[in-house]
Structure formats: C-alpha cells, structure tokens
C-alpha cells in the first residue's frame, strides 16, 4: 500500500509541474506550451540488439495559441485534471469512463470537449509519455478484452483463481496485470499460445487443447490490449515460457505478431514492459495452404488495403528478416489470404488435433 501511495504522489507531482509551467507561461504573457514526446514512426528506432522498438527523443510542441493545437492543448489539461482527481480519490477507471467524465459542451457553442473516445484515447497516451507515467499510474485502464485458461493458479487482487476451472468462458484478463495485482501461483504450463480471435480460442478451449498440451491459452481479440501483452510478457520472462502466436494469414495477422514481438509504434515507450522478442509465429503461414491441404476456394483475395499494409511493413526495420520478407512477398504474389477458420474445411477440430500439434512437432515456426 505504501508503495502505491509513493507512486501516486510522484505522479501527482508530475501533473502539477506540467500545469505550473503553463501557468508561468501565461503570467509571462508567453504562448503556453508543453513538450510531448512524438509517438510516430519518425521517432521510433528498432533496437536490433534488444530486438524491440524503442521511442526516440523527438518531441513535439503543443501550444495553446496555435489554432491546430489549441483544442488538444485544452484536452490535455482536461484529462490531466481528471487523472489528478482519480489519483487523489484513489479510484481507477476505464479510458471509456474517463471519456464520459470529461466530455461536455463548451460554453454556449455546439462544440464538445471531446466528440468521440477516439479523440480522448490519444490524449491519454500523450499524457503518459509526457509525464513518463504508466497508464495505471494515472489510474486508468483500457477496456478489457482477452481471455485466458490453462494449467495455472493465480491471485487476482487477492482472490485465488484456478485457471484450470474456468469452464467455457475463461478468465477475463484485466488491464492492469502488474505484480501487485496479479501474482502467479502453481502451474504445469510448458508454453503460452496466443491466438488472434475469441472464436478460435473457444475452439481450443472446448477441445481442451491446453489440458492435453499443457499450455496457457490466451487471446486478445485482434490486436491484443496492453493487459494481455503485459501478461504474456510476464509469463515469458518470469516463468520462462516460450510464446507461440497463431493469427490469420493476412497482413494484419502478421502485424499483430510483430507488435507482440517487438512492440508498437504508438506504445513504443512500453516496449520494454510488453514486447517478447522471442515470440514465435506458428501460423498461419503462406505455405500452410499447400502443406495442409487447405483448398484454394477458402482463400480471400487481397484488397488494395492489404497490399498497402504489406508494402508498409516491408519498410519497417524490424521486418527485414529474410524469412519474414518471404512470407509477406509470397502472400502479395499469390494475392491470397486465409483466415484461421479456413482450416475447418479439413474438419472442425483439424486445427487442434492435427495442424497445431504437427507444426509444433516439426518446429515449423518463424521466430
């Protein structure tokens, strides 16, 4: 508890310092401004040694007397003041909640402080990097999505939970999974299997794949949220479990894998705590269709967006590995992509009974 108080105090001090600097600017009749580390590709470096994406030192200025920045400037301090209130009252809330807390109409105009949550989420991320404070330190969490089952017992906020007994529903992964919230207990797991979508996760759970294989089965509903990524990271480093990622055979699936592995551009400042550079891409590979007899008619043609994404990814320094380039180029050339569900053509449990066991046995993965 004391550790928590100390963190809170530190975070509060950071928020106040940010506001004080701005008040000083105003008193000196200077354009009030703050410096925000850039969360863009241009300010990202790939650390080849650590094999993770890192944020650079570039910052962007956000000043009030600049028409294109005034609104964001206002929003930044609106969010900062809301976070201050959360910290002071010792409450934690979702970023969706924060959006509603801070949304209201401005004066007698028809303009709102925020029009959509899409507008407030990036402001929170700006604040995180500006204050060098983690989201949970601001007493915020993302909407939870993501489920986990497996041969492990954990303690979640003091409650002991046996992940072997979660029925068909599974345990919902919270946004904050730091050691003070989630503690790992006894387990027999040999590895972590992260699948892209809930439907696939359900198949694996119903077939009790995790029991047979002794693995932690987790999904993140598309691009996995921070909680899921952080949990995977912790299991990898604290429990020494290898991580396998099963995603659709399309550019977006590959990108999910890449985020799990090296981190994302947007949250590059969190890579250290989230990226698992040794995560393995188990499927679906572009060559699998042939090898596993997946009929061509289950494929989907790539659209212009897919091709663009492929070209983009080929540019990223962390996509320069030959095997990777071959995957992407093969896909682009064949002009075909496959969803994981395409394997069901070979039988509903083909994926859990044949495909994955064989891939693992043959060590047919990319790393």
């Amino acid at each position: 508890m004391t550790r928590r108080d100390a963190t809170a105090k530190k975070t509060l001090a950071k928020i106040e310092a940010l506001a004080k600097a701005v008040v000083r600017d105003i008193q000196k009749k200077q354009n009030p401004r703050i410096e925000i580390p850039l969360r863009t590709l241009s300010n990202i470096t790939y650390n080849a040694r650590k094999k993770i994406i890192e944020m650079g030192k570039e910052t962007q200025e956000r000043s009030f007397f600049n028409v294109s920045q005034a609104r964001k400037f206002m929003q930044t301090f609106l969010v900062a003041s809301a976070c201050k209130e959360l910290i002071e009252t010792g409450k934690t809330t979702s970023i969706r909640d924060l959006y509603y807390m801070t949304k209201h109409t401005l004066g007698n105009s028809k303009v709102n402080t925020f029009e959509e949550q899409d507008e407030s989420d990036p402001i929170i991320e700006d604040l995180e990097v500006t204050l060098d404070a983690l989201r949970e330190e601001l007493h915020l969490f993302a909407n939870r999505k993501g489920l986990m089952v497996g041969p492990m017992t954990i303690v979640d906020s003091g409650d002991t939970i046996d992940l072997r007994r979660q029925g068909s529903g599974g345990w919902g992964v919270p946004s904050i999974v730091e050691p003070n919230v989630i503690k790992f207990g006894k387990h027999e797991a040999r590895y972590v299997l992260l699948v892209e979508k809930e439907a696939v996760w359900s198949r694996f759970n119903e077939d009790k794949f995790w029991k047979k294989e002794k693995c932690m089965l987790i999904h993140g509903g598309g691009q996995p949220p921070r909680g899921v990524r952080r949990l995977v990271h912790r299991m990898h480093y604290e429990l020494g479990l290898p991580v396998y990622v099963l995603v659709d055979n399309d550019p977006w699936g590959f990108y999910i894998y890449s985020v799990v592995k090296q981190g994302s551009i947007n949250l590059a400042y969190e890579s250290m705590r989230m990226a698992v550079p040794r995560a393995r891409f188990i499927g679906i590979s572009s060559r699998d269709a042939e090898r596993y007899g997946i009929p061509e008619e289950t494929s989907i043609r790539l659209d212009e967006g897919d091709h663009r994404r492929i070209r983009q990814m080929l540019e990223y320094p962390w996509f320069q590995d030959k095997k990777w380039r071959r995957e992407l180029e093969t896909m682009a050339k064949s002009n075909r992509k496959y969803e994981i569900e395409a394997l069901s053509r070979r039988g509903i449990s083909f994926i859990t009974e044949e495909y994955l066991p064989r891939k693992l046995a043959e060590k047919d993965w990319l790393e």
Binding site: A19, V23, I26, K29, V67
Partner: protein, 689 residues
C-alpha cells in the same frame, strides 16, 4: 388591367405600317439611316448649320452608304415620285439631292413605320422613352447654361383611362424662347445638338417632339409646355400640336401664366402607356441618371408611391465639353468627298486646315505630299473623284498628326463617381439586379433573401457600426459597409475620336454574396438600359479575370459578388452597335481602355477584400482560442489552484493580441468584444470564396 393593355395594343395597331412597308430587320437598319437623312434634310432646310449637318451625318453613314439609305427611304415613303432615282450611282448622291427627295415623306407615316426604332415600340417602353427625351434635354440645357440642374419627373394617372398616363418633366434650365417652343415641340427632328461634334446626351435620342407626337397619335392630346427664360420675363404655357402631314407645329393655345421658378421649362405629354410594366425601366433610368450626374437633384413622383428624392451629391457642375472639328484620322472617303463638296475653302490644303482639327499649313502640305497629289489638285476633284479622295485619305493616314484636343470630353471624374455611387446607393430602391428582362425567378428570390439576412444584420450592427470610423475608401450607407473606388483613364483616341473611360466600383460585404454583380453602363452620362449582352462594356467586364481580384466568376460570365460596377464612356462620338443606341460596339481600343480601368479598380478591390479576409481569418482564430479558454483556465485552476478568473482574463487578452488586436475588429467594423454571434456573421461571409 389586362384589358387595358389589350386595348392599348389594339390602338397601337392602327399605327403599324401595312404589310408592304414592313421590312426585314436588315431594312430596318437602313431605315434608321433614312431617319438620319431626314433629320439632316429637315435641319438643312431650317438651319444655317447646313454644312456641319453634312459633316455630322455623313460621319455616321458615309456617302457610299447613303444611296441604299435613300432607297430605303423611298420604299418607306409612299411617294412614287422618288422611285426615279433608284439607279443613280452611290457616290453621286449629294446631301442636297437627298434632302429634296426626302422632304416629301409624310412625317406621321415615317414615325409610325419607325416607331420601334424610336423607342416607342411598346406601351411599356413609351414612358421611359418620353421621360428620357425630356430629362436628357433638361440636363443638356442646364449644362450649357451652367446651371445646377433640379428636375422633377412625374408620372400621373389619367382619371377614367387606365391605359393613359401623363409624364411631366420640369427643370430649372434656361428656358426656351417663346418663338422656339412650337418648332422644338411641334416639328419632328428639329434640334440644336445633332449637328455638332460634341459630347452631349441629345444625340442619343430622337428628340422631344417625337415623344410629343407619340402622345398626340395615341391620345389626340397636344403637348403642353411651360417655360420661362428669366426672372424679369413672363412665363408662357403653350399647347402644341404637330401637323403630321407637313411636319409643322400648330399652336393650340398660348397664355401667360405663373411659373414657380425664375427660369425653367416644364413639359407634359399625355400618352397611351403601360405603367405597371414600364415602371421598372423608368425607375432604373432615373436612378442611373442620378448616378452618372452627381450634380443633379432629382425628384421622382410616381403614382401610388412616395416620391423618390435624389439629393444633389455634388455642387460642382460638369466641366463643359468643347465642340471640336473632326480629326482627319477618323474620316472616311465618302465623308471626305461630302465635306469637300460643302467646304467654302479654295484649295485642298485650305480645306484640310479649316475643316479638321490639328491640321496646320505644314501638316496639310505633308498630307498632300504623302497622298502623292500635286499641289495644284482642286477641291472639286476631291469632291467628285473618288480616286482622288481615296488618295487624300491615304495621305492623311500616312501623315503623323497630333491627337485631337481633349477638351471636348467631360468625364464625370473620380471624386464625383464616388459621390454619385454613394448617393445612388443611399436612395436606390433595392430591386433585382440589372437584367434584360424580368426573368423573375432568380432575381425575385434574391430579393427575398436580401431582406431577411440583411435586415437582421443591419439592425444588430447598425448602432455600433455607425460610430466607427470607416476604413479608407469605405462608406457607411444605410447601415451597410461599402468599399468604393473609381478610376478615370486618360483620354484616348479611336479613329480620330477622343474618348475617355471611367469606372466606379462599390463593394459591400453586407450585400448577398452569391449574385452576379450589378453592372451599370453609361455613354455620355446616359444610362444604357438594354442589350447588355451585346455591349463592349459587358464584354470587357466578362473578359477581365475577376478571380485575380477575389471575386468568383463563372466562365464567360459576369463576376459574382456583392458589387455594383459603373462604366462610363465619354466621347464626342460613341460607337453604338445599332440604331437603338443601347450597346457600345466592340472596338479594340475601347475594350482595352475599359479593361485597364477595370483592372485599376480591381487591384484596389482585391487589396480590400484580402485585408478583410485576413481579418475574418484572425477573427476565426480568436474565436477558436476563446472557445477553449474557459476550459483551460478551469483545468489549470483545478490542478494547481491558480486563480481561474485571472487566468481567463489573461488568456482572453492574449488571444486578442495574437489575432490582430483591435485592428481586426476595426477592419470588420465590429465592436471589439467577444460576441460569438457576431462572429457567426463573419464566418458566413468567409464561406463565399
């Protein structure tokens, strides 16, 4: 009403020519030349200025063309006596011969056959034509007498006759000698201005007697004239009728009367007309006449409406235009021959020197040298030998001759154009923008729109705005802002004819933004109300790229924007496209001068609009900042406990300074405050771009 109109139509029908005499449009053209010829001959027989008459008329229709004109005249006239000369070679027809033949035309017949050319083609246009003739005369007379004109125009209903109206025009001019009144009002084509090379209004008309005759033919009533030539003199009231067979006046009655002015004239003509249809033209004529004559004070009394009072915008009478001799460069072969024939000079050199401007003895010699004519060449040869005349003309063109004197021009002048525009905008009734025909829909909609949007804004801003010092070139008129600029080009010469172009431009950010501009065209201060599309002025406006000057402009059309544009061409001889004298011909020299003048004004306009746009932009920025200031102040207060009100005040002040400060408010004529509702207006304004 419809019945009245029909009845009017029927009555007019009586005046129309029989099918035999009704000619194709091409013959209509020539008939007009006939009219000039008639005018000329009439003048010749009654005026000592015969020589000048010849010069003047042949200037317009050169001698070679006089023959077909004569033919047309003969056809038009019912007299078989004239058919004899049909085969006469063109160049042999002299003014005298023409005069002899044409005297036999019955004036009333001539008139009825040419009604459409004389401006009495429809009962709705008749009122305008008659008023125009009388007002133009009043203005010309006052100008010559150096009197500041004061004119009262009145249109009165005639009891019991819905299709009859009385037009009455009263002036404070020099008056007319009693002995002259009959001829002026009772004899067709009798006047003092036709035979001169001088910038005047009269030449554009047909003469007041034609209006009187129209009245007489449609109502049987004589024209009534009151006139007084001085304080010590008696005023006279005379009723004059025209004997249409002989084209001579008949004095119906004559009496000494009281007249409210020391000197002046009042003319009243009762006529069949359609006021409800014609009032629009009439109003436009009156308004635009005032616009081009800032020294004129005019009152317009209309049936069932408050009188419109146009006060004088300037106490300064226009500069008097001098009469000049023609410049040699403008003369055509036929004219040259005719002039030679008329001249009393004894040698060709003498002829050149006395009949033309800017020809000295040396220049005359040089012309003869360049013409490769022996010094001994006789004037008679020039008059009779087309080849000699042509050589002489070539000689003229090969000789460098000084430009004609420019004192024959009387432009309105920069300052007065501005004043004219201001008082025009102060009085002008906001009707639809100028249009050929009342193609109701778009214009009527515009009017409705104008009302609501403007009234609201005007009310809101007026109180505050009136106390603000206007921008340079900006005027407050009826609660609206106007940016007014004008340009007077230096005089230029076209084919020996001096002319001068003037442009005045009034732009109002408070006018509707999406209408084509209002274009007002003038020649020698007379408004051109019809045939806009055929006019060189319109063409010059359309061909100017107004996008350079911050106005929208559909391809090949007038620019769109809240602007009134005045274009005036002053010249001793305005080249009209046709007999109706409603559009100016497309001469390159004219077009280029008009465009230069438009560009000059356009550049100033652009600077003004850009400044406003920049200020509107600043205001938008300010409002953006203001929108967020409360929130920022509150958040900062909540985080560090700083004084929220102080922060707010500081930020508001900073926002103002960061967006041009008070200057922004001034340019937009806005009270320096943070009223967002006002900003809405500015925003709506920027929308148009």
């Amino acid at each position: 009403m419809a019945k009245a109109r029909r009845k009017a139509g029927e009555q007019l029908e009586l005046l129309k020519p029989g099918p035999k005499a009704r000619k194709s449009s091409s013959s209509q053209k020539t008939t007009r030349k006939t009219r000039e010829a008639v005018k000329e001959s009439a003048a010749r027989s009654s005026s000592s200025r015969a020589k000048k008459a010849a010069v003047k008329s042949s200037k317009k229709s050169a001698a070679p063309r006089a023959a077909p004109a004569a033919t047309a005249a003969r056809k038009a006239s019912a007299s078989p006596a004239t058919t004899r000369r049909t085969s006469a070679p063109a160049s042999r027809a002299t003014a005298e011969e023409l005069a002899q033949r044409q005297r036999e035309i019955s004036v009333s017949e001539f008139f009825s056959k040419n009604r459409h050319l004389l401006g009495f083609d429809s009962p709705s246009k008749a009122l305008l034509t008659a008023v125009k003739e009388a007002v133009d005369n009043s203005l010309d007379a006052c100008e010559e007498a150096r009197i500041l004109p004061e004119i009262v125009v009145e249109v009165r209903a005639v009891e019991g006759a819905p299709d009859r109206w009385v037009i009455s025009v009263e002036d404070n001019g020099p008056g007319i000698l009693k002995t002259q009144v009959p001829k002026i009002f009772g004899k067709l084509l009798y006047g003092s201005k036709f035979h001169r090379l001088k910038q005047s209004r009269g030449q554009q008309g047909i003469g007041i007697s034609a209006a009187a005759m129209y009245g007489q033919l449609t109502t049987g009533k004589p024209v009534v004239v009151w006139t007084r030539t001085g304080k010590a003199r008696k005023a006279h009231r005379m009723e004059i009728r025209i004997d249409t067979r002989t084209n001579s006046p008949v004095v119906v009655s004559e009496e000494e009367v009281e007249f409210p002015r020391d000197h002046g004239t009042r003319v009243e003509i009762e006529m069949q007309a359609d006021y409800s249809r014609g009032q629009r033209h009439l109003l436009r004529y009156v308004e635009q006449t005032v616009l081009a004559n800032p020294h004129l004070a005019l009152t317009f009394c209309r049936p069932n409406a408050e009188p419109l009072v146009f006060p004088r915008a300037s106490e300064e009478p226009p500069k008097e235009a001098a009469e000049i001799k023609p410049h040699p460069y403008g003369v055509e072969v036929g004219t040259l021959m005719l002039m030679a024939k008329e001249s009393k000079a004894r040698s060709v050199a003498g002829f050149l020197q006395t009949e033309f401007s800017r020809v000295s003895a040396q220049v005359a010699d040089e012309i003869l040298r360049n013409a490769k004519l022996p010094k001994s060449v006789r004037l008679k040869d020039v008059a009779e030998d087309r080849e000699v005349a042509e050589k002489l003309r070539q000689g003229i063109l090969a000789t460098k001759i000084m430009a004609p004197p420019m004192n024959c021009l009387s432009p309105i002048g920069d300052e007065l154009i501005r004043k004219g525009l201001i008082s025009f905008l102060n009085v002008v009734e906001e009707e639809e923008p100028e249009e050929e025909e009342p193609s109701g829909r778009s214009s009527r909609r515009a009017k409705a729109k104008e009302k609501t949007a403007e009234d609201k804004q005007a009310e809101m801003e007026k109180a505050a705005a009136d106390s603000m010092p206007p921008e340079e070139g900006e005027e407050q008129i009826k609660g609206k802002r106007f940016f007014i600029v004008s340009t007077t080009r230096p005089p230029k010469v076209y084919r020996g004819n001096p002319f001068q172009v003037e442009v005045g431009l009034a732009y109002s950010p408070d006018w509707p933004q999406d209408q084509p501009i209002r274009l007002y065209r003038f020649a020698n201060r007379v408004p051109l109300l019809f045939q806009r599309g055929a006019c060189a002025i319109t063409e010059a406006v359309v061909r100017t790229d107004w996008k350079n000057y911050e106005l929208a402009q559909p391809k090949g059309a007038l620019p769109v924007g809240p602007m009134a544009l005045l274009v005036h061409i002053a010249s001793v001889w305005v080249p009209f496209t046709s007999e109706s004298k409603e559009a100016i011909a497309h001469y390159p020299e004219l077009l280029s001068e008009i465009r230069l003048a438009l560009q000059e004004c356009g550049r100033k306009l652009a600077a003004y609009i850009r400044k406003r746009k920049a200020a509107v932009h600043e205001l938008r920025r300010r409002s953006t900042f203001e929108l967020y200031i409360d929130e920022v102040a509150r958040s900062l207060h909540e985080i560090v406990g700083a004084d929220e009100e102080k922060l707010r005040g500081r930020l508001l002040e900073m926002a103002r300074l960061a967006t041009g400060g008070d200057r922004t408010d001034e340019i937009l004529d806005r009270v320096a405050s943070r009223r967002r509702d006002e900003f809405e207006g500015a925003e709506a304004e920027e929308e148009y771009r």
